[in-house]
């Protein structure tokens, strides 16, 4: 039978006797009395007494100390009444008769106590083994917990299976808790702290209390109290571990945000200095070499100053967008966004720069939703679309399709442009990387895809390039974003 052992169901006092043990004790006693009575003529008084002593020892060995003492007392009465002269009275005939009787009783009592104690020791070892085993199981369940929810689940399972008391886990955050006992025990009180009907254990983390484990009834025994203390310690460890894991995840996210910022700043300084360099070189040349420069070259320098000022102005506008995006929104604020809708908005935004290129939308997927920051997501799509526009011929088609993928949503943006050589497929996402091309080909800032990659990764997704897309030409950019449930889990 594998009924879950209730460790502390009964008082831990060892003078306990279950019904079965009582019956067994009575049976042993009865049997030994019958034998002793039957063999009285044959063995004499002393022989019969020894048979009874044997019975007491057997009762002690099988049923413990309480049984031994009970058996010893009963055997004394039986012996005195039935076997010791004068028979059928509790009176004793002569002083001579008293001696064996006293000896018998002492023997019986001692034997019973010894046998019972042995029995009790064995039982207590078995109990403590069982306690150890269950503590081990508890510890395993708690250490396997990866989140606060896991810990709470493990605790309630333990409470249901192994405890007679109900328990509750209370967090102690910023010196606040809604539980009175928790406030007391975490606010500097002794731990464990008892009230009339509950006991609270403080859970210590690395720097101070992180919560309290509150049991709704008082423990019934010292062993149970020990067990609760151990349970509180293991729970504190598990909480601390979960908190640390959270901190590691946080600092990783912070590092990623930091990287993104560095990339952004570095891009910005490059994008500003490049036109500034042309402007500064042109203007200072006009000052320094006016006499040597022919009219055409001077005009060219002046033209380039105007053009580069234009470019600078566009960068400034972009920068404003980005800083608006960045203001307090990194790490990203997520909301549930319809993918189709976002693609529509992004196409709308790039259309003025698309010339006569056609945008071909894939089959509608109205139910496809991702958890993302709207501004970031749009910027990702716009950057990828602009890249497709920049590197494809006027009049060609750019197709955009979104579809559910096994653990998220996949967006494919495909152009009919030059394509990307195999060895550059990874590097196109590097900052400032541009696929080497003939001099006349268009030049981007080398940032669009890098920023897209940075933002997609900030959203928990991934991005990669495939080329040729079809018929030996074109590029396909594949964006993978986690779906709502996956992202918010």
């Amino acid at each position: 039978m594998t009924v879950p052992a209730r460790l502390f169901a009964v008082s831990d006092l060892r003078f306990r006797l279950s019904g079965a043990q009582l019956l067994l004790t009575l049976a042993i006693l009865g049997l030994s009395f019958v034998v002793a009575f039957g063999a009285n003529d044959l063995l004499g008084e002393v022989g019969s007494a020894l048979v009874l002593v044997l019975g007491i020892m057997l009762a002690g060995a099988t049923s413990g100390l309480a049984a031994a003492i009970l058996a010893a007392f009963a055997a004394f009465l039986l012996y005195n009444f039935y076997l010791a002269e004068p028979v059928l009275t509790f009176r004793l005939a002569t002083g001579r008769d008293i001696a064996p009787l006293v000896a018998f009783n002492l023997c019986a009592l001692m034997a019973g106590i010894l046998a019972g104690r042995l029995r009790n020791r064995a039982e207590s070892i078995r109990d403590s083994n069982r306690r150890l085993a269950s503590l081990l199981a508890v510890s395993e369940a708690l250490q396997g917990a990866a989140s606060l929810d896991d810990i709470e689940r493990a605790l309630s399972a333990i409470a249901a299976e192994q405890l007679t008391v109900r328990l509750a886990l209370h967090r102690w955050r910023a010196g606040e808790s809604d539980c009175t006992l928790t406030r007391a025990v975490c606010g500097g009180g002794a731990s464990p702290l008892r009230s009339s009907d509950a006991i609270a254990y403080r859970l210590d983390g690395g720097d101070g209390p992180i919560g309290a484990l509150v049991f709704q009834d008082l423990p019934a025994s010292r062993e149970e109290e020990d067990f609760l203390t151990a349970l509180a310690n293991v729970t504190a460890l598990a909480l601390a571990r979960v908190a640390l894991a959270g901190q590691i995840a946080e600092s990783r996210a912070a590092a990623r945000t930091e990287e993104l910022k560095t990339a952004l700043f570095s891009s910005i300084s490059h994008d500003f200095r490049t036109p500034l360099t042309a402007i500064s070189a042109s203007a200072s040349s006009l000052i320094a070499y006016r006499a040597q420069l022919d009219e055409e070259t001077s005009q060219h320098l002046l033209r380039s100053i105007v053009d580069e000022c234009d470019r600078l102005n566009r960068f400034t506008a972009n920068l404003l967008e980005i800083s608006r995006l960045q203001a307090g929104q990194m790490p990203v604020a997520r909301q549930v966004l319809g993918v189709d809708e976002m693609i529509g908005a992004a196409v709308q935004q790039v259309r003025p720069r698309a010339g006569s290129r056609r945008f071909l939308r894939g089959a509608a997927a109205p139910d496809l939703q991702v958890a993302a920051d709207a501004a970031l997501f749009e910027l990702v799509l716009v950057n990828v679309l602009e890249n497709a526009i920049r590197y494809s011929a006027d009049g060609s088609t750019i197709s955009i399709a979104a579809q559910p993928a096994p653990d998220g949503c996949r967006i494919a943006i495909e152009d009919e442009g030059l394509g990307i050589p195999g060895q550059d497929l990874e590097r196109v996402f590097d900052r400032f990387y541009r696929v080497p091309r003939a001099e006349a080909s268009p030049q981007g800032s080398g940032l669009g895809l890098a920023i897209a990659k940075g933002f997609v990764e900030a959203l928990g997704g991934s991005i990669r390039a495939e080329s040729p897309a079809r018929d030996g030409q074109g590029t396909r950019i594949l964006i993978h974003l986690p779906l709502v449930e996956a992202a918010t889990r």
């Binding site: 300084s269 490059h270 200095r273 490049t274 036109p275 500034l276 360099t277 042309a278 402007i279 500064s280 070189a281 042109s282 200072s284 040349s285 320094a288 070499y289 040597q292 420069l293 022919d294 070259t297 060219h300 320098l301 380039s304 053009d307 580069e308 470019r311 400032f432 990387y433 541009r434 696929v435 080497p436 001099e439 030049q443 080398g446």
Partner: protein
């Protein structure tokens, strides 16, 4: 002697479009390349007298291209870069660049660096061992330093540092190179270097608090004015 030939390597067409006619008008022959591949092809075709090299190239890092050039050629190379990080400059200079100019630059500054680099090259080739800047004369062969008509007394360490600076007159010399010249170890403390530069300024500058000859390039090194 024909006009000096300069190869400009930069991936910005707009900058090339400005530099090409202007440097041409200043009396140089100009070739341009927009990436490392083009630069190597141009080098193999007609070796220039000097290279202006941008560090951010699309197909290869500028420092890697520099290393490749240095394997076969001792041509003067001036790095032009929008990367303002000191470590980038130092890496390029230690990787064999003769000098650097930050973007954005004025054309006068760029051309002064170009002239200094070409002059250094000519002096090395002609085995010229006398450096002059204003009142200061350094005769490397005779180990003699004079200010006007007066002899300047220098300790051996001061002389080693001044020699290293004069050998690249007009160009920046990194802390590392100066530590090697003065102490024989690049790991020596740059604090020593600062102290010795201070001593040198006491001896050769008219106003040591406003140096005109021995100039600091913060975070990178020192430059002896090209005179």
């Amino acid at each position: 002697m024909s006009d000096p030939h300069i190869l400009i390597v930069d991936d910005e067409p707009s900058l090339l479009a400005v530099l090409e006619p202007v440097i041409g008008a200043a009396g140089y022959r100009v070739t341009t390349a927009i990436d490392a591949r083009g630069a190597l092809a141009a080098l193999a075709h007609v070796p220039p007298d000097l290279i202006l090299l941008d560090l951010g190239l699309p197909d290869l890092d500028g420092k890697a291209l520099l290393a490749q050039i240095r394997r076969t050629s001792a041509l003067p190379v001036i790095v032009i870069s929008a990367r303002h990080q000191e470590s980038e400059k130092i890496a390029a200079l230690d990787g064999g660049a003769d000098d650097y100019v930050d973007k954005p630059f004025e054309i006068g500054e760029l051309m002064a660096r170009v002239r200094a680099a070409l002059r250094r090259r000519a002096q090395v080739e002609a085995k010229v061992s006398v450096y002059r800047a204003g009142e200061l004369t350094i005769d490397l062969g005779a180990r003699l330093v004079t200010l006007g008509s007066e002899k300047v007394r220098l300790s051996p360490k001061e002389f080693s540092l001044l020699t290293a600076l004069a050998a690249s007159a007009g160009q920046v010399v990194t802390h590392r190179k100066l530590l090697l010249a003065g102490w024989g170890a690049e790991t020596a403390d740059t604090q020593y270097l600062r102290v010795y530069i201070g001593l040198l300024r006491q001896k050769i500058e008219a106003d040591p608090s406003d140096p005109r000859l021995l100039l600091s390039e913060p975070g990178v090194g020192y430059r002896l004015s090209a005179g």
